[in-house]
């Protein structure tokens, strides 16, 4: 019975997708109420089922093998078998809660946000439901192929949703970029999967875990496997060097950015590492690489976020940066801390994105922070929620972000292989994080300028991003309904209290709750195994580290206040010349341009040339030459055809003589 419920929970969003997909095919826009019921309802029921299952199958879930349900056979060839079978264990139930929970909130939010997009309303919800469906496969599948199905499925939804406004060229390009970048990662992931299959002879988690439980494997083998898998994670979770798609992905509607590109899909890489903990734990060198990639990603994207002016771009780079933190945690073996940060990040980043969506919606699709300011007066609740999220992300004590981030920094510090450097990277990122997020807050909600006034002026000058004809007469802010503010409030509450599941060791003198939980559920108790990687840490050092990170959080807040509130600075317009470093940061260190110059353009050129030269000029031409030679011979042979009959008779006789010679020649 519960098995059927689990399957139903996973496939319900798919039914929602089908229903909404069919509705979207209708000529006239479908009833929004109906679409919302299908869209939100399916995810809501699915969420409720997960809550129910969590309590009903409590013991099974926390056990090693978890609670599993078999749906039907998928691939079964030779020794390879992969089924549509699901595994609800401690790790996946955690993810399922986040996916369906936050997913449901964002669905509700979307009913308000997308209200104006009448012709595309059903299509939007169809995609969102499909996303939830794919994401649930990613986290709940009991084998790597099924994870990969979800992995690529969410990639597809991401592609479709980024390019949701497909008539806009930049959205279409961004979607394509996201898909292809992800594919590069996927290629690595596939190879990792194959290596794992070759090693363990199976792609089912249970069998993989069993293999690692029974055998000890050479670290060098596991290093390669872990690195290959990590390439996949790089793509999906936007790490250096494959992070470039995520900022562009902001071309999609804001709820999408919140759901896919902040809370759930991009954390798939982190989840995958936790899922395959035995592999990564046996691969210390690869883990170090992961930690450093995470650290550098965090720093680099935080640097870029400093100067961005598009509110969503700031948040996008912030997401990349926070993902960097998570990978840092996974790399140093602090799986509990990484998953913890994954959760808190999901809360506050979803809040930030949805909040920014609300701002954008209120300002008639204005995304440029230079044209905002002083919104506090108009939307107090929203501003407060934004402050909550900002405080959470910046690491000011008491809110969720503080606990998770601090735990990561502490674990990084104690990491044996270059832990100090990692800590430094994370520490610098923390300063920058605090600065850019408060910069965002001040620019948007405070400063002396008035967004409403700016908007009205801008509107009369034909300024701004607004391309929707029905907004042509700007009259104040668009009111925000309950279905927009409701989810924000819930997320605000979560952002505040979400961190208390992991109170630090130095306060409680116990293993933090969530870490203990993950120690228990990850079948091989990774934190314990990874302990050898860590040095012992004194209580006083821990306090020092914590105080330092609290200090930098306030430092960032103060600096942002100083520049943007006190001095009332507004970031320069695009055309203004900037100082060198600001120029670098504003232009994202020219990474996109470099990729285009050294990778994309040469490849395209090689493709063009190999078509024009190898295919047309060499292969095809040489075949044509064969034909031409035949024709040439023919043009000489043609002269034999004189049309004079005796000549033909002559040929006949000659032929007879030759044949006779061959046949009778021996007789002479």
């Amino acid at each position: 019975m519960n098995e059927i419920l689990l399957i139903a929970a996973i496939w319900l969003p798919f039914l929602g997708f089908l229903a909404n997909g069919l509705l979207s095919l209708k000529k006239e826009p479908a009833s929004q109420k109906l679409v919302s019921i299908f869209g939100v309802g399916s995810v809501l029921i699915s969420f409720l089922i997960f809550i129910f299952l969590t309590f009903a199958e409590n013991t099974a879930i926390v056990s090693q093998s978890g609670f599993s349900a078999m749906f039907f056979t998928w691939i079964n060839v030779g020794t390879l078998s992969a089924d549509f079978a699901y595994k609800l264990d401690g790790l996946s139930v955690f993810m399922a809660w986040i996916v369906t929970g936050i997913g449901m909130l964002i669905h509700i939010y979307s009913t308000g946000y997308m209200e104006e997009e009448k012709p595309h309303f059903a299509r939007f919800f169809a995609y969102l439901n499909l996303f939830i469906f794919a994401m649930l496969h990613l986290v709940l599948g009991d084998s790597l192929p099924l994870l990969f199905l979800g992995w690529e499925g969410v990639g597809l939804c991401s592609y479709l949703l980024i390019g949701f406004d497909y008539d806009k060229d930049f959205a279409a390009v961004a979607g394509k970029k996201a898909f292809i970048t992800n594919r590069i990662g996927d290629a690595g992931f596939i190879i990792g999967m194959f290596l794992l299959f070759q090693l363990t002879g199976s792609l089912k988690y249970d069998e993989i875990y069993g293999f690692f439980g029974a055998n000890s494997v050479d670290a060098s083998t596991l290093n390669i496997i872990a690195l290959c898998l990590f390439v996949g994670a790089m793509g999906k979770s936007a790490q250096i060097p494959l992070y470039v798609w995520l900022p562009d992905a902001m071309a999609g509607p804001t709820p999408v950015s919140a759901l896919i590109h902040a809370a759930t899909m991009v954390t798939a890489g982190v989840f995958m590492i936790a899922r395959l903990a035995p592999v990564f734990l046996g691969a210390p060198e690869a883990s170090t690489v992961i930690a450093f990639v995470g650290g550098f990603t965090a720093l680099l994207s935080a640097l870029i976020a400093l100067t961005q002016t598009d509110i969503k771009k700031v948040l996008a780079y912030s997401t990349v940066s926070q993902l960097g933190y998570m990978f840092m945690a996974m790399g140093v073996g602090a799986y509990g801390a990484g998953m913890f940060h994954l959760m808190t990040h999901a809360f506050f980043k979803a809040l930030l994105f949805l909040g920014s969506g609300a701002v954008i919606l209120a300002l008639h699709h204005e995304q440029d922070m230079r044209r905002m300011g002083g919104l506090y007066k108009h939307v107090k609740l929203l501003a407060i929620l934004f402050w909550v999220a900002a405080v959470a992300i910046s690491g000011i004590p008491g809110l969720s972000g503080f606990f998770s981030k601090d735990m990561i920094l502490e674990m990084a510090y104690t990491f044996a292989n270059g832990g100090k450097i990692l800590f430094l990277l994370g520490f610098m990122t923390a300063i920058l994080t605090s600065f850019y997020i408060f910069r965002l807050i001040f620019l948007t909600f405070h400063t002396s300028g008035d967004a409403v006034k700016k908007m009205e002026e801008g509107g009369s000058h034909g300024h701004g991003h607004d391309e929707h004809g029905h907004h042509s007469h700007h009259s104040g802010l668009v009111p925000l309904g309950w279905n927009i503010m409701g989810p924000l409030v819930v997320l605000g509450v979560l952002s505040v209290f979400g961190g208390y599941v992991g109170l630090p060791h130095i306060i409680t003198h116990k293993t933090p709750g969530i870490v203990g939980y993950f120690d228990q559920v990850l079948s091989v108790a990774p934190s314990k195994a990874a302990e050898s990687w860590h040095q012992h840490i004194e209580g006083s050092t821990a306090w020092l580290l914590m105080l330092a990170s609290i200090g930098v959080a306030f430092l960032g807040l103060f600096t942002a206040w100083f520049f943007y509130q006190k001095q009332n600075k507004v970031p320069a317009e695009d055309s203004v010349k900037r100082s060198f470093f600001v120029h670098l940061s504003f232009n994202k260190f020219f990474v996109d341009e470099i990729y285009e110059k050294i990778l994309l353009n040469p490849l395209k050129k090689i493709a063009d040339l190999s078509y024009k030269i190898i295919d047309v000029k060499i292969i095809d031409a040489s075949i044509d030459y064969l034909g031409k030679i035949t024709l040439l011979i023919g043009s000489y042979m043609r002269r034999l055809q004189t049309g004079v009959t005796p000549n033909y008779a002559l040929y006949i006789v000659s032929g007879t003589v030759v044949i006779a010679f061959i046949v009778f020649g021996g007789l002479n």
Binding site: T642, G643, P646
Partner: protein
């Protein structure tokens, strides 16, 4: 008393010579009618061979073949000469080198 005995090889050589002469005529002459005559020579030389071997093996099949060849030759001559007339009517010549319908 059993009559003369003529070696088969003599007949073969004779046939061969006649055939070659006919062939020479076909290849060198330009008048269609003469070519036709040369063909008749070739045809008849082969008939001779049939008869010779028929006698040699004492088997009448060879002579039967000659009988049929003659019948066919009669028909062939009729058709062939009709063609010559028709050709002459069309091209106003019986010079074979003038008629180049096989080309183009």
């Amino acid at each position: 008393m059993n009559g003369a005995e003529i070696p088969v090889s003599y007949v073969i050589v004779l046939t061969l010579l006649l055939f070659s002469i006919g062939m020479l005529g076909v290849l060198t002459r330009k008048n269609i009618i003469v070519i036709f005559m040369s063909v008749e020579i070739m045809l008849n030389s082969v008939n001779l061979l049939f008869v010779a071997f028929s006698r040699f093996w004492n088997d009448l099949s060879g002579e039967m073949a000659v009988f049929f060849v003659m019948a066919i030759a009669a028909a062939e001559a009729a058709i062939g000469l009709a063609l010559v007339i028709s050709l002459h009517r069309k091209f106003h010549t019986v010079d074979i080198t003038e008629i180049k319908e096989l080309k183009n």
